[in-house]
């Protein structure tokens, strides 16, 4: 009877499983839809919503004949571990009757809020009531009315929409360990609540919003912003910390509306920090640079790309002709591919250009959730103190070009620029930023003085004003590329938005400059041919081909898993 790999049969199809998996996990992995509310891969099993119940038959250990499991009781598939030879029906009359009953119960006290509910369109209650519910309500009595509550800085609760799956409560107990949320009351008067005076403000609080299968927990930031079916989603990588959290950017008409975690068991599991969740705001900042500028009479004056490029190339060249060096300060906020191209620009002008990595902000110390868990625990979630997504990637690329140990960190860069003294061999520098907030330090400003500076950045700042040429760059959402996180994982991200009007990705700027240099530095002459178009995947293969040490960019880049396709809910018949 038993085969080498144990299998169970779900709705007539045999599925292999690994011992210890529950029936629901096997079904989920096999893509068989079993309705589920309270179950979540990252949380403990409570089996309280009771919609996942299924009919199970199992072979009698002695005779091998199939017998109703547990005396024919309906079995919670999220709780029951699979055992070899089990036959599971999630669509038997008994199981379906239960699904219908549970759906009806969940809806009797649920307000008819869908038209004004943010969750509408991505709501489990909607989906399941469409698939498993009955079309009409038989409930004529008064619904239980419950209040709206402000639970914390980001989280709003519409109690009457809650289906009491307790995912949110379990999250604050089992993942953050802070336990702010609780269940209050009994029976159908039950409500989720916080302890008086202790709002839910932990650094992972936003995840409870994602966990909520219905529209009970809502994001204040996203409240009434968009109907979710207008949102487009693009897979991306956390742009502001070193953890490399996988995210979805949800955007519409050129505007980001929210960021959601993208499940990745090797990186961020199911979660992201609030810092990452709300860290995209700089993309739409009022301080975004929208046009190149050049310094005229000591003040920046708006320019255009051709002129700015010409002046930039000329300025950098002059520095070399005058016997000085050119430096590149490659920010840890830009993609690996862009760092590679920018380094080529400066090395095209100065073979021995100084290559440096920009400042890597650090805030606090690393933290692992749940508190006390080891970092390698399959459920552990780590928050990194390092607040830059790509310090390692940028260094890796620059070192491949300049040789190991030849790439300066920010302190060394400042010294090379003649910090304090102002005198050094470096006469010109290409400085990139792309930080989510102002980052210019007095030291930086001090040693930029007297040199020819080309600043490529997204937000206005003192060093941009002080630069001879400033070029507006594009944020992570407006380009593709790769980031290498703190654990050395290189992950690619895709472009969600077209670049902010007037801005260009650093990679494109680098290509433009390379083209101009190749054409002798004169825009008029260069105009006859076109620069290459920045495409991260192309550059990755070029990097891998040109430098052995960059082979990882061909072999070891983590790409976003394709989004599972929605299945049609119609039964397809062969014709």
């Amino acid at each position: 009877m038993s085969s080498p790999t144990p299998t169970i049969t779900i709705n007539g199809v045999r599925r292999p499983f690994s011992p210890g998996q529950t029936i629901l996990q096997v079904a989920n992995a096999a893509g068989v839809e079993v309705p589920q509310y309270c179950y979540h891969d990252g949380l403990s099993v409570v089996a309280s919503c009771r919609i996942c119940l299924c009919e199970v038959w199992s072979p009698n250990p002695r005779t091998g004949a199939l017998e109703p499991f547990m005396g024919g009781k309906l079995v919670p598939s999220c709780q029951q571990t699979a055992s070899d030879g089990m036959v599971v029906h999630t669509d038997s009359p008994k199981a379906v009757a239960n699904q219908k009953a549970v759906m009806e119960y969940l809806l009797i006290n649920h307000p008819l809020d869908c038209p004004v509910c943010d969750q509408s369109g991505e709501c489990f209650l909607q989906d399941y009531s469409y698939q498993y519910g009955r079309g009409v309500s038989r409930f004529q009595e008064e619904k239980v009315k419950q209040p709206k509550k402000d639970l914390g800085n980001h989280v709003l609760l519409y109690s009457d929409r809650c289906i009491m799956c307790t995912r949110c409560v379990r999250f604050t107990r089992e993942v953050t360990g802070t336990g702010e949320l609780m269940v209050m009351g009994r029976g159908n008067k039950e409500e989720i609540d916080v302890f008086p005076g202790i709002p839910i403000n932990n650094e992972l609080s936003g995840n409870v919003i994602d966990l909520c299968p219905v529209g009970a927990l809502l994001d204040k930031d996203f409240l009434f912003q968009q109907r979710v079916w207008y949102l487009k989603e693009t897979p991306s990588i956390d742009p502001i910390t070193a953890s490399g959290d996988n995210i979805w950017i949800h955007h519409n008409e050129g505007k980001i509306h929210r960021v959601k975690p993208r499940e990745n068991p090797r990186v961020n599991k199911w979660w992201i920090t609030d810092e990452v969740r709300y860290g995209w705001k700089f993309v739409h900042s009022a301080d975004r640079l929208g046009a190149p500028a050049r310094k005229q009479y000591g003040y920046p004056a708006q320019s255009d790309f051709p002129r700015a490029y010409e002046i930039a190339v000329a300025g950098l060249r002059r520095a070399v002709e005058d016997g000085g060096r050119v430096a590149l300060l490659a920010s840890p906020m830009i993609a690996c591919e862009e760092a590679y191209l920018l380094a080529q620009v400066v090395r095209e002008i100065d073979r021995e250009a100084v290559l440096a990595v920009g400042p890597v902000p650090v805030k606090g110390s690393d933290r692992v959730y749940p508190p006390g868990a080891s970092e390698d625990d399959p459920r552990a979630f780590k928050v990194h103190a390092e607040k830059a997504p790509n310090a390692r990637g940028v260094r890796r690329v620059l070192e491949a070009l300049a040789g190991p140990g030849q790439v300066l960190d920010f302190e060394a860069f400042l010294r090379a620029m003649g910090k304090g003294t102002g005198s050094s061999g470096v006469r010109a520098a290409l400085v990139t930023g792309n930080y989510p907030s102002a980052w210019t330090t007095p030291e930086l400003l001090g040693c930029l003085g007297g040199k020819f500076i080309v600043a490529i950045d997204t937000l206005a700042g003192p060093h941009v004003d002080a630069a001879d040429i400033s070029l507006p760059a594009a944020t992570f959402a407006e380009k593709s590329g790769t980031f290498e996180n703190a654990r050395g994982m290189i992950q690619s991200f895709e472009r969600a938005l077209t670049a902010f009007e007037g801005a260009r990705p650093e990679g494109q700027i680098a290509f433009d400059l390379l083209h101009l240099i190749a054409c002798g530095g004169e825009y008029e002459r260069a105009g006859a041919t076109r620069p290459e178009v920045y495409d991260a995947a192309d550059i990755r293969s070029r990097m891998a081909a040109e430098h052995e040490t960059l082979g990882v960019f061909a072999s070891a880049v983590g790409h976003p898993a394709p989004r599972p396709q929605a299945r049609p809910d119609m039964r397809l018949v062969e014709i």
Binding site: V45, V46, A47, S48, C49, R50, I51, L53, M70, G71, G72, K73, L74, V75, P76, Q79, K94, A97, N98, A101, V102, Y105, L106, I108, N109, R138, F139, E141, E142, V144, I163, M164, M182, V183, G185, R186, G187, N188, K189, E190
Partner: protein
């Protein structure tokens, strides 16, 4: 035209009906028209009718089998004819109870009085036996849990993880294991554990000590419902006495008599007061509550005997269950099996021993009585309770705590033993504390009131119980007020059924209790419910005229 016709029809109908002929709409014209046909949309009664009659007959035959019960044809005011098979009360040995003694003489039995009247002899005997032989003795006695489910206690104890022994036969240290005594007596109409805790706390403590010895448990918790202030106080005083006299605490059971691994086997006993929730009586919710959490039943497996309180093996027993232990150990299992009755089902589990039965409701002398299991309800009511109040007729009785469902008017002869569930279409014996209703009781109100209780006590974890209990209450409330329709009755039955009777739909048995209570009341008193609701009318289009003539 149609409208005026129907008005005419109705006027005519009025006249006709006053003459006693049935109302009919006068057909006008030959075209198709709407006729009002009165249809009561109700499912055919669930087959209980026939089933119950069959069972009733079997039950009646069964009555003849018990000579005592037959002899005891009650007449109000006659002298007691019912005696206990053991000859004298066992659990209520020190608590005066009708019909053996006047309850006026009740008082808290102190340690000294308890010992003087033969107390702690069972424990003494147990300590002279091997722990496993004590368990074996309890197993042989087929003592079944008195908390509601009737699970055999000895068997439950054997579910604890087995202890390994070394070459010299010394058992390994079991580590922390717990005993939790369920004193959360919150089932409406149940007041039997209370009697023991009120007056004879040491009987319970002795049972606890025996259980702890048999199962190698070093810590016992008594989880007592929050409303039992006085009882908690009595227990605490008794525990203090027990500590002072070496039953519990440092020196070991009975001051060092019992030796466990590495010295005397000492048991600690604590009282934990609940915060007032019925659900905390469910064994796993009780464990959660003991741990200081919200009383939410846990999913099983793992069962408490494997992973219970604080993640350690735990035995949960009812107060009355452990109160039986001293006498079982003292007199032996054979003595115990002479009381009560064997099962009438082939291979059925027996209902041995006596049981405290707290009778409430419309009887002349409500109270808690100790009876042999198997006593017919009629004997209990007519003799012990001196009959129905005001000489009224028996209408029904909640079998044993409202979760069990109701015994109908034709089930007065039901024997109060663990077979009652299978025989009389109730969930089980439960706590064996019946609430009796007389002929004037409004069963719709009873159902509504019961639904209210369950709605209020549902812990709110499982969707069907949380939402279904509220809905049931609302529906029954509406039906009681006369705003229901026939289809509401069917809906009520359907909700009750999908909530619990389909096994496994909820985590704990509360939903089952709700379902059984409401469902059996509606089914057994269907006529009363139907009289309260308005019929559902369904418009039917029909053709009269040429086609009809053909």
């Amino acid at each position: 035209m149609n409208k005026s016709a129907s008005q005419l029809g109705s006027r005519k109908a009025g006249k006709e009906s006053s003459r006693g002929t049935p109302a009919r709409d006068a057909p006008i014209g030959n075209g198709p028209r709407l006729a009002r046909v009165r249809i009561s949309v109700s499912r055919p009664r669930l087959s209980h009718g026939t089933l119950e009659t069959r069972k009733k007959h079997r039950g009646a035959r069964r009555v003849r089998l018990i000579p005592d019960a037959r002899k005891a044809r009650p007449t109000l005011g006659t002298a007691m004819s019912y005696t206990l098979k053991a000859g004298q009360p066992i659990l209520t040995k020190r608590i005066p109870c009708w019909p053996f003694a006047d309850p006026k003489g009740r008082h808290v039995v102190s340690y000294d009085e308890y010992v003087r009247s033969g107390g702690y002899e069972g424990l003494r005997k147990a300590l002279s036996m091997k722990p496993d032989s004590v368990t074996e003795e309890v197993k042989k006695s087929v003592l079944r849990g008195r908390g509601g489910a009737g699970f055999p206690t000895g068997l439950k104890w054997t579910f604890l993880p087995k202890l390994t022994t070394d070459e010299s036969g010394v058992e390994a240290d079991p580590g922390a294991r717990y005993l939790a005594i369920n004193a959360d007596e919150s089932e409406p109409g149940t007041f039997k554990d209370r009697l023991l805790m009120d007056f004879d706390p040491h009987l319970v403590l002795e049972g606890i000590a025996i259980c702890c010895y048999a199962c190698r448990i070093r810590t016992a918790f008594i989880f007592i419902r929050g409303e039992y202030h006085h009882q908690a106080h009595v227990l605490e005083t008794a525990i203090k006495e027990a500590y002072e006299n070496g039953i519990f605490g440092g020196k070991g059971l009975l001051g060092g008599t019992a030796t466990g691994r590495g010295g005397p086997f000492a048991v600690e006993c604590h009282v934990h007061r609940g915060a007032g929730a019925y659900i905390c009586g469910e064994e796993t919710a009780l464990l959660e509550a003991l741990e200081g959490k919200r009383g939410w039943p846990r999913i099983k497996p793992p069962f408490p005997a494997i992973k219970g309180l604080f993640g350690r093996p735990t035995i949960i027993n009812n107060v009355e269950t452990v109160a039986h232990l001293p006498s079982i150990v003292e007199h032996g299992s054979e003595w115990f099996t002479r009381q009560g009755v064997a099962s009438t089902f082939p291979n059925g589990m027996a209902s041995y021993g006596t049981k405290l039965m707290g009778v409430s409701g419309h009887v002349n002398r409500p109270g808690c009585y100790e009876c042999d299991l198997g006593i017919p309800l009629r004997t209990l009511v007519e003799e012990h309770c001196q009959g129905m109040r005001g000489g009224k007729k028996f209408k029904g009785a909640i079998a044993g705590g409202i979760s069990m469902g109701i015994l109908g008017p034709d089930q007065y002869e039901a024997e109060m033993d663990f077979d009652i569930g299978r025989k009389h279409n109730v969930l089980g014996l439960g706590t064996a504390c019946p609430t009796v209703f007389d002929q004037d009781t409004d069963m719709v109100a009873v159902a509504r009131n019961i639904a209210r209780f369950f709605k209020h006590e549902s812990c709110g974890q499982c969707t069907p119980c949380r939402e279904g209990s509220g809905w049931l209450y609302q529906l029954l409330g509406r039906i009681e007020e006369g705003h229901g329709r026939t289809k509401d009755l069917d809906l009520t039955l359907e909700i009750a059924t999908s909530m619990g009777s389909m096994p496994g739909t909820t985590i704990c048995g509360l939903a089952d209790g709700n379902n059984w209570a409401v469902r059996t009341i509606i089914n057994k008193y269907r006529a009363e419910f139907e009289a309260r609701v308005r019929p559902t009318f369904v418009p039917i289009r029909m053709t009269v005229g040429a086609m009809a003539k053909g």
